[in-house]
């Protein structure tokens, strides 16, 4: 016999559902400039509060303030703005191309452009990203060809991956962009292994792991943190918290932990949270974390606080699980507009030049798209050879695959 009431299961729920008024009152957002910038050799213990705050640079008036400001020139910021605008325009065109049946699938970045675009600019040649399917900004900000991206999406004759991979599962060793896998979180521990290899060879290169809020629940996340901590691997471990894992709100993966960044503390890994819609803040935190890795001070965990404005993918309709206007209520705003306003406040930009640039970028994206389409789209006649299907399973084709290729008549 017990005096206790019967037990009951706690299942977290988002604050609101479709039809409700969006509510982000539970998200605590400090003022820009408020969070201190520690030395890079700081102990994880000494900056516990950074795992529960949000590093922000751009204030409401579009000014860059506080200790994390002042790292980027006007030209660098204009370049960053251009990268984000390019990613957004590319997303819009590819989303449309999917609706037109030119490909089977697409995943856009709407609202998260700053995270990958700004982070990329803190990296050096030879560093390696282990991205998820929502970091194409790493490619765009790294100068990868839009035509090659579109060819991959179309699975056409110029697809660098020969039609073997689902759209957006890019790969470019040359651009420090590890092959994307459909299996969530697997790349997180691989990033740690790559970083360990760099350390084993006394190299100077670092690795960057990427994961979403939902995928932090996978075992690989845990393994990555253990290994990164044990071997003090030169790796930056990014968590992109866009609040949603398809239809599941971030509280399901986060549980009772205050933040995702807080997970790092138990592993003795310095953990920071950053305003993921603030290009300057993402870049400044990236620089800090990369410097730690480069100076052999070990790993850093960074939670990028952002919002997934678009649908999860072209196969998803968010109206089924969240209010339609939720993204408009998101308190950290839009990364493109915020950087644009900052540049205008700096006197380096104007509405006219922005509109003009937007048009130029659209032209560039459309011409890249057209060039890619000249090599075929998914259901066109132009596609990778069926022979390519049998290549590359092994370094040399074994006899049983040669027999199967022959049987396939290709």
């Amino acid at each position: 016999m017990t005096d206790n009431a019967p037990l009951s299961l706690h299942v977290p729920e988002p604050a609101v559902r479709p039809g409700d008024t969006p509510d982000f009152s539970n998200i605590r957002i400090p003022r820009a400039g408020q969070v201190a910038r520690p030395e890079v050799d700081v102990d994880a213990e000494a900056i516990r509060d950074l795992a529960f705050s949000v590093i922000r640079v751009l204030n409401r008036d579009g000014e860059a303030v506080g200790p994390w400001a002042g790292l980027l020139s006007d030209d660098e910021l204009l370049e960053g703005l251009r990268h984000m605008m390019t990613l957004r325009a590319f997303d819009a065109r590819m989303q449309m191309a999917q609706r037109q049946g030119k490909t089977s699938f697409y995943m856009q970045h709407m609202g998260e452009e700053a995270v990958s675009c700004a982070f990329r600019k803190a990296l050096s040649p030879g560093d390696m990203n282990f991205p998820t399917y929502r970091q194409a900004g790493l490619l765009i900000a790294g100068g990868y060809s839009l035509v090659d991206m579109a060819c991959q999406i179309y699975s056409n004759t110029h697809d660098p991956l020969k039609g073997r991979q689902l759209p957006v599962m890019y790969s470019s060793r040359e651009h420090g962009f590890f092959s994307i896998s459909g299996n969530l979180a697997t790349q997180y521990i691989q990033a740690v292994g790559w970083a360990m290899a760099s350390a084993i060879k006394n190299d100077t290169k670092i690795a960057v792991g990427w994961i979403g809020d939902g995928a932090t629940a996978e075992s690989d996340f845990h393994a990555a943190l253990v290994f990164a901590s044990t071997y003090r691997a030169p790796v930056v471990l990014n968590i992109v918290n866009n609040q949603w894992a398809i239809s599941t709100f971030q509280g399901i993966a986060r549980g009772g932990s205050g933040t995702f960044a807080a997970r790092g503390l138990g592993f003795g890994i310095p953990a920071l949270r950053v305003d993921g819609n603030d290009y300057l803040a993402v870049h400044a935190v990236a620089k800090w974390a990369c410097e730690r890795a480069r100076r052999n001070l070990g790993p850093t965990l960074v939670e990028h606080v952002t919002y997934r404005v678009g649908a999860h993918s072209t196969s998803d309709d968010p109206a089924g699980y969240r209010p339609k206007t939720e993204s408009e209520a998101w308190p950290l705003g839009d990364p493109v507009i915020r950087l644009k306003n900052h540049l205008i406040a700096r006197g380096a930009w104007s509405e006219e030049r922005h509109k003009q640039t937007e048009a130029e970028i659209l032209d560039t994206v459309i011409s890249a798209q057209k060039e890619a389409e000249s090599f075929g789209t998914l259901h066109s006649e132009q596609r990778p050879s069926a022979r390519d299907m049998f290549e590359g399973v092994f370094s040399q084709m074994p006899p049983h695959l040669r027999r199967q290729r022959q049987e396939a008549g290709v």
Binding site: M169, I189, D220, S395
Partner: protein, 337 residues
């Protein structure tokens, strides 16, 4: 030629490759300072340093996942899963990542990783120290699966596996670590020092992947087997006096089909023997291939002797393990058919 146990041969293979190639690294649980629970990496850390041979946290997915990342960088990790029974947490990294990396990146990234795992039963290992999960690897496109049956092969195959540009699952029958085992658990164990295949050449040599070895020439029936069961099959042939041709497959994938086909076409009969459970085991693939390739030469149904379709038990070890009596019975039935 010096005689070595299989453990010593495996250690020599890693030693040879670590000294030949700075990119070879060895790690796993208890692998570093202690030298492995089976002593396979004993002395390697002292000789090559902690950055080449080290202990890991107890995380199979971490071990294989980190190895995949290292391989993407350009290293050649040779990692250990303490028992094949514990590879399941790493299965996603093996199947979804290691096996597919070359294919999905169109060769931009490759995965020259070797995953060593002690496998097989006959040691009172119970459910989680006895399994033979090879069929779970041979079904995966993009990985090679190797099972040696003696020290000489173990060393040559492991060197070949480490040099191979593709991921290799290297299953080591732990029952054979210290000596050959023919299934007669009631007799004293012979050490490898008393067996010809315990002769292991010094230094570097390879046994190529994808090539079977004929352990016994014969005319009456072909036995297709690998690992511990090679010795069980030899014992059964000797005891029955049946002139069996025993083929030690050594590499399950890619498979040496030419050797198999030539033998079965010669004998007209085929018995497949493995420790792993029967249903959907690797024997089913062998059976299908032999049936397809040798149909008009077969004079009897192809027989399979395998572990029962149960988890590996403890007390009933010798009722479970397909010993020489069961193999002998299958040979006799196949000849009478």
């Amino acid at each position: 030629m010096p005689r070595r146990t299989m453990i010593e041969a495996i250690r020599e293979a890693m030693d040879v490759m670590m000294s030949r190639d700075d990119d070879v690294v060895v790690f796993g649980e208890d692998v570093g300072y202690f030298g492995g629970v089976f002593r396979a990496s004993q002395g390697l850390q002292a000789k090559y340093g902690k950055s080449r041979c080290f202990d890991t946290p107890i995380s199979e997915l971490g071990i294989v996942g980190a190895a995949v990342g290292m391989a993407a960088y350009g290293l050649k990790p040779c990692v250990e899963i303490q028992f094949a029974d514990y590879m399941y947490p790493a299965y996603d990294q093996i199947v979804s990542e290691a096996a597919r990396l070359r294919y999905r990146s169109n060769g931009q990234f490759t995965c020259p990783v070797v995953v060593r795992m002690p496998t097989g039963g006959g040691i009172f290992g119970g459910q989680t120290h006895s399994q033979s999960p090879e069929a779970l690897f041979t079904h995966v496109c993009g990985i090679k699966t190797v099972v040696p049956s003696n020290p000489s092969d173990a060393k040559g195959l492991l060197i070949a596996a480490i040099e191979d540009p593709d991921p290799v699952i290297f299953l080591e029958p732990k029952r054979l670590y210290n000596g050959p085992f023919d299934g007669h658990h009631d007799r004293p164990v012979t050490p490898w020092s008393k067996h010809d295949l315990g002769e292991v050449a010094e230094g570097y040599y390879t046994v190529p992947l994808g090539r079977a070895a004929i352990r016994r020439q014969g005319e009456a029936v072909t036995i297709l087997t690998y690992g511990t069961m090679v010795h069980v099959a030899e014992s059964a042939a000797a005891e029955t006096g049946i002139d069996a041709e025993i083929i030690d497959l050594r590499t399950l994938l890619p498979l040496d089909l030419d050797t198999i086909e030539a033998s079965v076409k010669k004998t007209g009969r085929c018995v497949i023997v493995h420790e792993a459970t029967l249903t959907s085991g690797f024997g089913a693939e062998l059976c299908a291939l032999v049936q397809t390739r040798c149909f008009y030469h077969l004079e009897a149904p192809i027989a399979r002797v395998a572990g029962w379709d149960t988890p590996y038990p403890h007390a009933q070890e010798w009722d479970y393990f397909p010993g020489p009596a069961r193999v002998s019975r299958a040979l006799a039935e196949t000849l009478e058919a």
